[in-house]
């Protein structure tokens, strides 16, 4: 276990419930799993790997945690082709070059060794998000967003940081974190992450919320929505998610839909309104057609084919 070597830190949260309440105070409604794992991550000093469908608030979780702990959020957006110089650190070549030229003009007092020591010092180092998070004096939350977008080889860059909270720079030596930042990695699961990465993280799967929670989310996030409208919205969205769709409506889409309905001055969703506005919830023509068909169909004794919720005899 590497945790012995890590710097001591005061726990940020007292209990699971404290996490949940504080998240609620910044309008992030967590469930038991989310709050519990954030609490554990703090206690164990481990990063959290957050996976789940798009639009379920993975990134928002990191932002909210940063907000409640009063920490600075450092974000590394991953993309294909991300490399060391964009993620970790880079030497400021231009400045180094200037330094060398400047010393040439001076009397030949400075020996080569001096210059070498000089140009590979902190002054010439450009910190990138990962190194910045490690060197930060103030509390930080590090968010490594969409980590599944980098290639498998690049993932290895993260390993040292995630397990030991340190960065090795050949010219400078190893830089160890002064405090353990809370680290969130998010993934949309477009590819399987490497075992090595997963092993170092706590795993959190954020799924679509259940109806009650979704209703609460709508109530907190959408000003001016009535309780009954929120309830109807949550129920319709749940029904739509039960269909076999290319892309189920995400939480953010639910919120968009709720906002639209409020703007339209709707206080009760009837079939026409629902059908007319499904294009906010669903983004594929085939999905919209399917949902429209399902929402308008006479449901008397229906057994929808393929719906997992259908009771078996």
């Amino acid at each position: 276990m590497t945790s012995d070597a890590l710097p001591e830190h005061d726990p940020r949260f007292d209990s699971v419930d404290a996490v949940r309440d504080r998240l609620r105070s910044v309008d992030y409604l967590s469930d038991e799993g989310i709050a519990g794992i954030v609490y554990l991550a703090d206690r164990l000093g481990k990063p959290i790997l957050v996976e789940g469908p798009a639009g379920t608030g993975k990134t928002q979780l990191a932002k909210s945690v940063a907000e409640i702990t009063g920490a600075r959020l450092i974000r590394l957006q991953c993309y294909e082709g991300l490399d060391e110089s964009k993620a970790l650190y880079e030497w400021n070549y231009k400045k180094q070059l200037l330094r060398i030229q400047a010393s040439r003009n001076e009397a030949d007092s400075a020996s080569w060794d001096d210059i070498e020591d000089d140009i590979f010092s902190d002054e010439f180092l450009l910190t990138r998000p990962l190194l910045e998070a490690i060197r930060a004096e103030d509390p930080v939350v590090l968010l490594i967003d969409e980590v599944d977008r980098v290639e498998v080889e690049t993932e290895a860059l993260l390993l040292e940081i995630l397990s030991d909270y340190q960065v090795s720079i050949p010219e400078l030596g190893t830089i160890t974190a002064r405090q353990i930042p809370l680290v969130f990695l998010t993934s949309n699961n477009t590819r399987e992450l490497s075992e090595a990465l997963k092993r170092r993280c706590l795993y959190l799967h954020v799924d679509y919320p259940d109806m009650e929670r979704e209703k609460e989310i709508v109530l907190t996030k959408v000003p001016g929505v009535s309780e009954t409208l929120a309830d109807e919205i949550a129920r319709i969205v749940r029904s739509i998610r039960q269909l076999e769709l290319k892309k189920s409506p995400s939480v953010s889409e639910t919120i968009d839909w709720a906002r639209t309905l409020v703007l339209l001055g709707v206080d009760h969703v009837d079939t026409e309104t629902a059908v007319a506005t499904t294009n906010i919830l669903l983004k594929y023509q085939s999905d919209i057609a399917k949902a429209t068909k399902e929402l308008t169909a006479e449901p008397a004794g229906v057994k929808r084919p393929g719906a997992p919720g259908a009771p078996a005899r």
Binding site: M1, G36, E192, Y203, K246, S286, L295, T296, G301
Partner: protein, 501 residues
Amino acid sequence: MSDTVIDPVADDDGGDPVAGDALVDLLNGFIVELREAGLPVSLTEHLDAMEAVRFIPLDDRSAFKYALAATLVKNHAHWRAFETVFEVYFSLRGAEYAIDPDAELAELPEDVESGDARDGAGQAPANAGSGEALTPEELAQMLYQALLQGDDAMMRAMARQAVRRYAGMEPGRPVGGTYYLYRTMRNLDLDGMLEQMMQQSREDAPEPLTPLEERLEHDEYENRINQFKQEVEAEIRRRLVADRGVEAMAKTLRKPLPEDIDFMHASRKEMISLRKALQPLTRRLAVRLARKRRHGRKGPLDFRNTVRHSLSYGGVPAEPKFRYPRPAKPEIFVIADISGSVAAFARFTLHLVHAIASQFSRVRSFVFIDGIDEVTRFFEGTEDIVEAVHRVNTEADVVWVDGHSDYGHAFEVFWQKWGTEVGPKTTVIILGDARNNYHASQSWVIKEIRHRARHVYWLNPEPRAYWDTGDSIVGEYGVHCDGTFECRNLRQLEGFVDHLV
């Protein structure tokens, strides 16, 4: 009750609940079982789990569960397997789950124990009988009320009652939980209740329900009934564990992970989880393949480009330039047997191949039983592959004589009709178990196809040990193929598709 929630040894009454060693042993057993179920749990993760539970108040069962899940399960597809093992291992621990009937009665919510059966809303008349005293009708009525109001505690109590009364569980009898589940459900007319509840809400509504409202109500009740069924299942499992012990139960309940489910023997439930697993798989595969294509920078040296770039280094070719590789996209012909025994396999493969069709220059599909039909048209112009596969199974014209597999005839017809369209860019994939019902094999067709095509592969959903037994003649065809692959589950299928591109 709090201090016994994860009392490490169930039958050790009392004792120190957090006795370190016992907890360690229990977790060890738990993790061994997870590994048996196929989850890759490493030593580090094991240690992490130990560490994690130290910070969790042990009386919080769900927090305990999430702590274990976060450290041990790193793939959402494995969640279900984890949950089953967890339920088995930790189901007996906790007073609210006590099996002892007396304790149970004490635990029944007040309004259940004393509630009037005809009015489950919670008034407490004198009829304070135990659950045993209820007639079946009263029980059904109470369940109906519980479902109608979505009362969780009541539903749990009802589930317990129903199992006790109807499942007829016999100690030591080696049957699986499904048998008891069936017996319990048979006595509770849940479909009827659903209807009744729908009727009720229609009456309660001030004006007639619109189809949308009706549908929403329907979904809501359906959801509650499912929840109730899960309670019943959990109750049966608890009782089985109490009867037979943790290890034995864990073994009986062990189910393959979605990617390991055998296509040919999947139950209806497993089919659903397979279908769910297929979607992310295709997405993953498509991304991976596209990436591979873009990043395979192993093209030959581009001499002209290198020289041109050498000018900026004073004529020294310091920066070698390579040609951008343009691997040819293969054209795919899928020929699938869709007779009963292998239909599921064919369906999955067709789905998968069409879902990643953009990775190929063209995909054409043919299905056969004893006649053969081209089904590419079903996939063209539709985004909904599920629908297309469904149409393949219902509309394709594949029966020639009797609807028993006849590979020989199907291949012959294929050769006559489409043989000339097989070209040097074509990869032909044949799906089937090659159980030919003792018809003529006509394996010369495969030989001819191979002469014309780039590759011919045969995917067989049967275990390799069964090949060439009985009427299986895969060997006869196999000699003419570039490769025969055993393809029994999603994992193997994924491996093959990866290999293909």
